[in-house]
Symmetry: C2
Subunit: 313 residues, 2 copies
């Protein structure tokens, strides 16, 4: 089987695990529940046990295993210390050391959005680039920055937190983070619905969206594709705010490409088109030409990125 | 004398050169003119000759020399290719290769603002940190990003171009870059004067600044220190826009510290105070606490950064 490695994407409910060869072929994939206990890290014990039993099951020995990459939902420093992971009931945990002691295998740890970014750079929408910004449009807006093939963890583990970049000075409604005008307020699934509802309350524009109970982001973006006036308005706002955020990223670190993922990105190319319509207008010449790509690995991006962390550049 | 290295800060008019030991002690410093000729790079010949003659003068031999770091005013890729340097009449020049052939010495090349950032991180205002954003407030606004002790050059050599980050969506006057609302329009020396004049034209606030011919940024900031109403207004605008830009940088790469340099920064701590007054209000919790420092190396930041490039981390 040659050399292999493991990726473990630890979420608040379950852990996705993957066994990879060195080229990134996914040889096996499975899930275990995320066990939580205040002040302890039982999920790490379970991941360690699961990896070790998979090694036995596959007839591997430890020398065949390059290591384990793990991601968690919380800020992680570049030395593998998790500062906190609220959904796992973790305070600061030296997770890299813990796992290396539990398994005897080299371990790398990262934030989940950052790991997903690395996965997408390696074998997903960002394939062929080594410096990207990944933007995940889900319930919130997450992000990850990869420079020269490496995750930018940040000094407080807050690298790539572009969802809370201020993009609208005139906003009066509060973001979950406590301030007003964050990217997330316009581009998350929740934000898209919020923008649509607010627009409909303030304007009597004819739109099918008024007749939909429990309006979702998908409803809004589907309507945009059918040229519904409110749908189009919201999609344009989405594109404009994402373009502003991307322009900020570009003027700071001049990445090669932006990769857009998360549930909202299932709307497809219309999202990229909406960003590309506004992006150049916010940029100086040197950063006007960037690639915009859709993520392709879906929920597996995390395990791919975890594997890549241990495989190295 | 032990091992040494050279730094050469190539400007449009002159080249500053420095001879350093491995600890960063500046052993000698001199200048030569920047010779320019369309389609050629005579200044590199002159820098090479100057370095080689300094080696002879000091009784060194080439084995004592770790290398030469050079910075130029233009975008530079991480492989040492200069894309263009308008003020030197350069198109694309593989400057690293050219210098290595001319001198037989290891050479590293960077953009001048990026080299200055590295210098300030090493032995200036950013000493003690390894990830900083340097902001240079001069005729324009330049910037440089250092992550984990390394310059972020960017895929088009545009890393750290924060002067052209869009910070005001309502601006109607154009920046030199062609768009409206760039940081540079409020925080450069020119921008400070522009903001003051615009405010005075629109308001009849009593201010000593009305009576100054050929108003300069120094006049405006001096007035702010004396509590002059217009001076205070402009300083607040300066602080607010810099705080916005810093917040964007922080949400992207979560640096440890911001270092503010350039002629405008000679106004001193009032600049940092103005930024710190607004900065936390634009940030999510994880990036609220950052250090803000004044640059300390002045015009020598470039040669220090150049030296550090060849010395390595």
């Amino acid at each position: 089987m040659g050399k292999v490695c493991f990726g473990a994407d630890v979420g608040g409910t379950s852990v996705k695990l993957g066994l990879f060869d060195e080229t990134g072929a996914l040889l096996d994939k499975w899930e275990i529940p995320s066990r939580k206990e205040k002040g302890q890290t039982p999920v790490l014990d379970d991941v360690a046990a699961s990896v070790l039993s998979k090694i036995t099951e596959k007839g591997l020995n430890k020398d065949d295993v390059i290591g384990i990459g793990i991601d968690v939902p919380g800020p992680v420093l570049s030395d593998g210390t998790v500062i906190e992971a609220v959904n796992l009931y973790w305070d600061t945990v030296k997770a890299k050391n813990v796992m290396e002691e539990l398994t005897g295998l080299k371990t790398e740890i990262a934030n989940d959005a950052n790991a997903a970014a690395l996965g997408e750079m390696w074998l997903g929408g960002g394939k062929g680039y080594n410096s990207i910004c990944m933007i995940t449009l889900g319930t919130g807006v997450g992000g990850g920055i990869i420079l020269d093939g490496q995750i930018v963890a940040g000094s407080n583990g807050a690298g790539g937190e572009i969802g809370h970049m201020l993009v609208n000075y005139d906003e009066t409604e509060k973001c979950n983070c406590g301030k007003c005008g964050c990217l997330e307020q316009y581009c998350s699934a929740t934000g898209i619905v919020r923008v649509a509802k607010r627009y409909m309350a303030a304007n009597d524009t004819a739109t099918k969206l008024r007749f939909i109970e429990n309006l979702t982001a998908k409803d809004v973006l589907d309507a945009a594709k059918e040229n519904d006036a409110v749908g189009v308005y919201v999609l344009n706002e989405l594109g404009r705010y994402l373009a502003i955020a991307c322009s900020h990223v570009a003027h700071v670190i001049d990445v090669q490409a932006f990769v857009v993922g998360g549930g909202v990105s299932k709307a497809g190319e219309v999202i990229l088109d909406a960003i590309k319509k506004y992006y150049p207008g916010f940029c100086m010449k040197a950063v006007k030409n960037k690639e915009f790509k859709l993520a392709t690995l879906g929920n597996d991006a995390g395990i791919y990125g975890c594997a890549k962390m241990v495989l190295g550049k």
